[in-house]
């Protein structure tokens, strides 16, 4: 038993090493110095306190999204529409703020209502993918992808149409909110402790939901074997639908945080790809909640650390995306090799 755990750990290290080798080779192929690149990524993320707060700013939406995705993954659903759910959350939040910010409503109430609206917006958008899946027989991957495009188009339409800035409309976004409804940030940094708290709360809720409750257990049963779960009396489609809406609510919360704490307006690329990145993180932690926070932090650090690569080393920052992707790819591949290896060992004994 102890031996098995040792072997498993060895395989995981192998995956990380392979991903690093591939990324290093790619860097070397374009004539860059890989060591300089890695040093810059580190300096750009954990190099100073300011940089680290930037990493946390990126960690917040990513972690909230991953929390939601762990719910749908547990239910055996590939919620690729998460990107659109973040966007719809951001739109709903912006809508409430625009509606209320010039009234006498107290700012704290506006902020609360706006965040709740974001969660509802995300959940409703997710329920569309869920309804397409459960009632229409449309695979959630294809329904979700289509809905992502519609969500993006809605943002662009709002920014250039009904919500355009007085004067020139531009992809840079709508007019900034009144400062009174911004989520307060810490000192000179861009980090909002409220948002950070909500992100940590999200992952803690999902941890207890999946590990310690009856609902979580039944959700996992639906994910492992929907037919068997159905025969044992689990209302299957209701649980799938619930998983979609929970994930959508978290995604919407992530969108709300981007609007309320980071940009203070709706911008064209409000989701910043955190949905897809969240899918990578959820796959990498192999659906174990406990690893979500550190892995998401690592991915956020890569994203932030890569920002300065084009300026300092004239390298495209997409290299960090390549590292993230190859990491997940090799973890998947190595897991396959490990299973084969274990089977062979099992046969010998």
């Amino acid at each position: 038993m102890k031996n098995t755990r040792f072997v498993n750990f060895g395989f995981q290290i192998l995956a990380v090493v392979l991903a690093l080798i591939v990324t290093t080779l790619i860097l070397a192929a374009v004539g860059a110095n890989p060591w300089d690149a890695y040093k810059n990524i580190y300096a750009g993320s954990f190099g100073s306190f300011e940089k680290f707060t930037d990493v946390l700013v990126a960690w917040i939406p990513l972690l909230i999204t991953v929390a939601g995705l762990l719910v749908t993954f547990s239910a055996g659903l590939w919620n690729i529409g998460v990107e659109g759910q973040i966007i719809m959350g951001a739109i709903a939040t912006t809508w409430i703020v625009r509606l209320l910010q010039d009234t006498t409503t107290p700012p704290a109430l506006i902020i609360t209502l706006a965040i709740l609206a974001g969660m509802i917006g995300g959940a409703l958008w997710a329920s569309l993918a869920g309804a397409l899946k459960t009632f229409g027989g449309v695979n959630e991957i294809f329904g979700g992808l289509g809905l992502n495009f519609v969500a993006t188009a809605s943002t662009i339409w709002l920014i250039f149409g009904p919500w355009k800035r007085p004067g020139v409309a531009s992809i840079a976004g709508t007019e900034s909110f009144n400062e009174s409804v911004w989520l307060p940030t810490m000192g000179d940094t861009r980090l909002s402790l409220w948002a950070l708290g909500l992100a940590i709360l999200s992952i803690v809720i999902v941890y207890f939901l999946l590990q310690g409750t009856y609902i979580g257990l039944r959700l996992k049963a639906v994910g492992k074997n929907p037919k068997a779960a159905y025969l044992l009396g689990v209302p299957t489609w209701q649980y799938s639908m619930m998983a979609f809406m929970l994930c959508g609510a978290f995604a919407g919360l992530a969108g709300a945080m981007q609007v309320m704490a980071v940009y203070h307006r709706l911008i064209g690329s409000i989701s910043s790809g955190y949905g897809f990145l969240g899918l990578l993180v959820a796959m990498l932690v192999n659906y174990q909640v406990i690893w979500a926070a550190p892995v998401a932090l690592f991915f956020a650090a890569l994203n932030i650390g890569g920002i300065q690569l084009p300026i300092i080393l004239k390298l495209d920052s997409s290299i960090t995306g390549i590292l993230q992707g190859t990491l997940v790819l090799f973890v998947l591949m190595v897991e396959g090799v490990r299973q084969k290896f274990m089977k062979r060992v099992g046969e010998k004994q």
Partner: protein, 332 residues
Amino acid sequence: MTTEMILVGLAGVLAAAAPVIFAVIGETISERAGVINLSMNGTILLSAMASFGVAVTTNNLLLGFLMGMLVGALVASIIAFGNITLKQSQVAIGFVLALICRDLSDFLGNPFVGAAGPRLPFAPLPGLADIPVIGVLLFRQDLMTYASYLFVIIAWVFVYKTRAGLMLQGIGEKPAAAFVRGANVNRMRYFYTILGGAIIGLAGPTFSLSVKAGWKGTLSGLDGIGWIALAITIFGGWNPMRAAFGAYLFAFLQWLGLVLQPSLPGVPSQVLQVAPFPLMILTLLLVNIGNAEWVGRTLASLPEPTRRFIARGLRSMRASPPAALGVPFDSE
């Protein structure tokens, strides 16, 4: 707008649909064999970049197109290896590859951004191009557009009219039965996944060396095409003809969006560009809803003439995926 202008516009639609046709035909073949190639969006971007890079460096269009096919085949072979040999989720691997290839195209394609490169020449077919209407529409195109017509017909004949095509359907529908009849299911799946990938890989160069010549990074309007092509493959019900129809419909709607733009000043152009998506979702719903259990139950409770009418309507649109799509095959 004159008839001549409309005809030229429609000819443009056929050309613009060509890369999407390659993508959906490749995906259809791969999925027919039971393997979803979810990497398509990344594959198309990377093959567009790589083939443009090769064509610029060597000034040889043929090498560019070969490079595109090679990239597509390589990516597909990773999916095949991970899924068929290592029994990991093909959706997960495909999705990861979609993101990696997209980033790779950005990273490696940097030196080629905005470079002047060769472009596939316009090649009107002598004789045929002079036929009124049809000539303008079909036969004043470049070679890849002609190839896209041929691919649709060849793929359709292959899948439905040949022995090998029947076997292909078999390994996607009932791999166990095909295995018993002597088919080496896994080897055939490898073959068709990689073949499908190579065809998808033609979509990239058809963009970067013809339809949208050049390389402008992932912001060039190519990003997202692969995801659309995936939806069109489902819309096409794994039938090459229907898939091609979906691709033409999509290109037509995008063109219509551009044409209607001046008469709808209130609507931003970005919105018209994505107008096909809600329609795509709706058609996906219509294509799939016949498979849902509750529909059958509801139908059964309707009065006979209504029931027959609705059932016939649904059946005409309905498409079921290959039964073993996404399921690894183990001969043990």
